[in-house]
Subunit: 515 residues, 2 copies
């Protein structure tokens, strides 16, 4: 067995059964070795940003990491933006980064670069494999490290990949979450019972059913309010689950949501900060005079903590569950609101929404709140170009669930080739492109940062018209059937048809810009 | 004047008159300031890999840097692959990398990351602007640093951009090239006159007319042979110029080209190394027993050195110039060879070729050798996805010259949104996609690295069919008129029409894979 075979054997034995890949010459032995491990599925993407974003989406839904296969430093850099998002969402990812053979690095061949600087940037766990005999142990440790919610980077020199004497290893048990101390729970129990205005901010694993139910019991019993962090990696919601609003994107929204709050309890979330800085405005959004209390951080078992807290303060109290409720199907030309009503009215049972709708999606949380139970995967790190790749990964992880990708036009173009992978793998993804022909969010931000009145050159840099992007042709060019909707009726008809048919579809929804 | 205005004023005064941009919120003051400096042109690209590749192509043709505008760490990472190529080609680029306001960095907002790790990776000159009063000086030094053939990174915190009291600065004269010592010239003169088998390897500025003419005189007078480095940033060639072959991409080709060579003279080029490592094969390709002699490195004035060397050893000898000569227009279904004959037969006068044809382009140097004078820009660093962006930049730099982008299909998908910028700016670029529906080079490499016989999973990762990419629809979706060619006659007709009409065109040339 060579190094690559031992590596893949170990990954599969450790529960990593999908490898999203865009290989190059230095990865050819890894590619050849894929066929030696029947459990490992290889999924080709045409750009590394799709590879890493798909690994992120896969892990959010599967609850275990996928591997990526990246070609040297330049392949890794192309995947870094979506690794940034995975890092912010604490999603496990195992990167296999091919490198030149060890003896070849000193000659500074054209593709040579400082890979360590890049793996360091991901803020995760990193190791360079140096011996086929140890490669299995390296891989098993990488998977265990990733399971802690980190990026794990395995740098694989070509000679270690092709070298004989590869040894696979058994899985390494991941370090589990820490249990929150009783004394911490008692302190927070006192806060939530205080009668003072209190918010529990939910993040991490607490935005899934168990955490939400426990939090809802606490709120029902004590009157505290709940919010979910602005960009959760995965939130379960819809009819039959507690409905919890997310903190807003804009600092002004958060300040309004937290008005007069005296206690902020952090349950797997960080204290809120402004996404960007604005002249004369605060960066930290916890109100003055509000005390912050840490119930659980990302290393703690936040769900257990919430359940124990609920048992302390809400014994016998049931969670408040969202009723089934859908908007009426609207009519007329598409607007920033009515397209979200169409989705709310027609969202299929068990859907997974990959949400990168940005400004066009402001209303989507409201109009889907009472839809059948579904998951929402959001843009955790703000690096655009995540929506389509995350949809790919979610669909690979959950082949029996419909995936809905709500995708802003400008962001779509970052990783548009994800459509090809949807077609190649026949993934059941319905992509709705919100095509407002602008970087609308930047039009808003140009005003918000207090920049002078924009001139024609400034405006041109925020404008995606001239020429208009035709996502129908782009999608068809990559093998995805596509249609265009300009009215709510068309969107409803096309969306219904798309979700009724298996396989990928795209709808180019021409929506006016909010701004 | 705020910091951003002072920065842009200084860039323009220093000769930087184009800014390829993909901005975000933290760059809004820079965007707003563009209209305050009439000389500065803003060019929007839909992905940072297009931004940086366009800046590379621009500088290769304009001989001076463009600026880029990139959004924080995640925007920079998306542009790093083409900055890697620019670094390898020693192309000057001035990156303006927006950052959070200085007071905002400590709150670790979602888009926060270690920008210094990334600018360090580019191996260039880097500085963070900290004061609007010093921003002009920072910018002037950045341009001077870039002029040495480096990436210059200016990190621009939002508060420095919006801060009052911006001060523009005068240009800083760039440090010029070093003059090669007479003693070095005398030593090399002895080598080239020795009568022993000698090769002069040309790189850097020596692949332009003056350097090629001087080198050709030396060769004609002494019998030494000439080669150009494998991937020159820019080579001038065609009828009326000396024709110099490039070293091959494959190690075996280089070894054959350098068989029995006893002296290798380096003129702005590095000694050849294998692009990748292969089991049991050499990394360094200079033959055993061959002495290497440095005439000029990248910091030296290599053109002056060659001209002085020619005066020493080739007084009165004229260069050998390529005759005008074109292939016959071929007929029949497209083949890996005949499409290059079509280009050779029809290449317009003064063309700029952005060449990322990869395996499909093996014959193009031969079939265009006697075409009208033209420039070729190659993939200097091996990071794919450069061809289309470099074509954008070259067309912005040289609006009166036809740009021909010869683009492999797999690589095209990395930065496909460059087509939109071609349409938006109405750039005179004719893109010929060599659509062989495979990562053909990897099929070849899979064999060359000695990997076991590929199984179905391995083969699938090298295959771009199922579904086929339809570049006609993709291009039309981005506003570029497009046609498909399957025969040499169709390609000839479509190529003739495309170059006769101003503005962008794309031809999806269905070419069988070599492998």
């Amino acid at each position: 067995m060579n190094g690559a075979q031992a590596l893949i054997r170990t990954l599969a034995d450790s529960g990593v059964e999908v490898c999203f890949a865009n290989p190059g010459t230095s990865e050819m032995h890894f590619v050849a070795a894929l066929d030696s491990v029947p459990e490992m599925r290889g999924v080709l993407a045409l750009f590394e940003g799709v590879v890493t974003g798909a690994a992120d989406g896969y892990a959010r839904m599967a609850g275990r990491p996928a591997a990526t296969l990246l070609h040297l430093g330049p392949g890794l850099v192309n995947g870094l933006a979506n690794l940034h998002n995975a890092r912010r969402g604490r999603t496990p990812v195992v990167n296999v980064i091919g490198d030149h053979a060890q003896h070849h690095k000193a000659v500074d061949a054209p593709l040579e670069s400082d890979i360590d600087a890049l793996t360091g940037w991901t803020g995760g766990w990193s190791r360079t494999c140096v011996d086929p005999a140890k490669i299995g142990a390296d891989a098993a440790e990488a998977v265990a490290a990733a399971a802690e919610g980190r990026i794990a980077n395995l740098v694989l020199p070509a000679d270690v990949s092709w070298g004989d004497g590869g040894v696979a290893a058994n899985p390494v048990p991941p370090r589990g979450k820490s249990t929150v101390e009783d004394s911490t729970l008692a302190g927070v129990a006192e806060v939530v019972r205080s009668g003072e205005s209190t918010v529990i901010l939910l993040g991490g694993a607490s935005t899934r059913e168990r955490g939400l139910r426990a939090a809802s019991r606490i709120a029902a019993a004590t009157g505290v309010r709940l919010f979910v962090e602005t960009f959760p990696a995965r939130i379960e919601r819809g009819a039959g689950l507690p409905a919890v609003d997310r903190l807003g994107y804009l600092a002004e929204q958060v300040q309004w949501q937290l008005t007069d709050v005296r206690h902020l309890v952090l349950a797997g979330a960080k204290a809120p900060v402004s996404f960007f800085a604005y002249p004369g405005k605060a960066s930290e959004l916890t109100p003055d005079g509000c005390a912050t209390h840490l119930l659980a951080d990302h290393a703690d078992d936040v769900v257990d903590a919430l359940e124990r807290l609920a048992d302390l303060v809400a014994e016998g109290v049931e969670p408040v569950l969202q009723n089934a409720s859908r908007p009426e199907l609207p009519a007329g030309p598409l607007t920033p609101q009515n397209w979200t009503e169409v989705i709310g009215a027609l969202l299929p049972e068990g859907a997974i929404i990959s949400d990168e709708a940005n400004t066009s999606g402001l209303m989507i949380p409201m109009t889907t709140a009472g839809a059948p139970r579904h998951d929402v995967l959001t843009l955790t790190g703000g690096a655009i170009g995540q929506g389509l790749p995350v949809a790919v990964g979610a669909a690979v992880a959950c082949p029996d669930r419909p995936v809905i990708c709500l995708q802003a036009d400008g962001s779509a173009m970052y990783t548009i080739s994800a459509l090809w992978t949807m077609a190649r793998e026949n993934l059941d993804v319905t992509t709705v492109v919100l095509n407002n022909r602008a970087y609308a969010i930047l039009r808003m931000e140009l005003t918000r940062v207090g920049a002078e009145a924009a001139g024609p050159k400034a405006k041109a840099l925020l404008d995606l018209a001239a020429p208009d992007l035709d996502f129908v042709r782009i999608a068809e060019g990559m093998g995805v059937p596509a249609t265009r909707a300009t009215t709510a009726e068309e969107l409803a008809e096309q969306f219904s048809r798309a979700i009724a048919e298996p396989g990928p579809h795209l709808i180019d929804a021409i929506v006016p810009s909010l701004i």
